[in-house]
């Protein structure tokens, strides 16, 4: 959509010449995408792996504990 602006500006050239317009298009840099994915994996994998241990550490875990039916919210 915004490249129309560049075409419009090119058409309004005060000294027109036969130049080949090479309009740069936005494309996410592959290297940046790869870095973002690697970072997400580096954060997510240990988080999942140690989630149980972390919960246990802080007393949130309820595994292997009996819970009276009356305390379960409906």
């Amino acid at each position: 959509m915004r490249n129309d602006v560049i075409s419009r500006l090119a058409a309004a050239n005060p000294v027109p010449t036969q130049v080949q317009l090479c309009i740069p298009r936005y494309s996410p840099d592959r290297r940046r995408v790869a870095i973002a994915v690697a970072f997400a994996v580096a954060v997510a994998v240990p988080a999942v792996a140690f989630a149980g241990a972390l919960g246990n550490l802080r007393g949130f875990i309820s595994a292997d504990e009996l819970c009276p039916a009356g305390r379960v919210a409906t």
Partner: protein, 160 residues
């Protein structure tokens, strides 16, 4: 010397068009002549693809000439107007409203047909910086054009 002649033959017209798109007619001849004097003096520094380098020299020469004229004849400078987009008044107004850095990168891409890598050479910045500048400048121009388009119907209604 032969290399200089080849460069002069090949790029004189292109450099002149570059200057005409940015300066009033009375400046053009002086600036183009100065660009090729610099080119002759520094022929060993001219890269194998000389056009972006010549544009850089032209940009700096033009800035120097403007400063010199502002010192010697400030009244003349105040009345002269730089070339603007033709045949599209809304675009001309929006374009004039941008800062000089925004205008220059848009001119380099839209009027000179340079890639962002070449524009970065002309502007003496990195390729990444040129890309960021270009996308921001384009976004600002789009916003100004949209603003102008949204204001116009109200204005026309008020005229009736």
């Amino acid at each position: 010397m032969q290399r200089f002649e080849e460069i002069y033959e090949a790029y004189r017209g292109t450099v002149e068009s570059y200057v005409r798109r940015r300066a009033s007619a009375d400046l053009v001849e002086d600036v183009v002549a100065d660009v090729f004097v610099v080119c002759l003096r520094r022929i060993d520094d001219v890269p194998s693809v000389p056009l972006p380098w010549l544009y850089t020299v032209a940009r700096k020469t033009l800035a120097n000439e403007r400063r010199r004229r502002a010192r010697t004849a400030p009244a003349e400078v105040a009345v002269t107007r730089d070339p603007e987009p033709v045949g599209d008044s809304a675009l001309a107004v929006a374009f004039a409203d941008l800062g000089e850095n925004d205008r220059e990168i848009l001119r380099l891409v839209a009027w000179e047909g340079l890639s962002l890598g070449e524009a970065a050479t002309v502007l003496d910045c990195s390729g990444v910086a040129a890309r960021v500048r270009y996308h921001r400048a384009k976004a600002r121009l789009s916003v100004r054009l949209e603003d102008a388009a949204s204001i116009r119907p109200v204005h026309q209604g008020a005229m009736r």
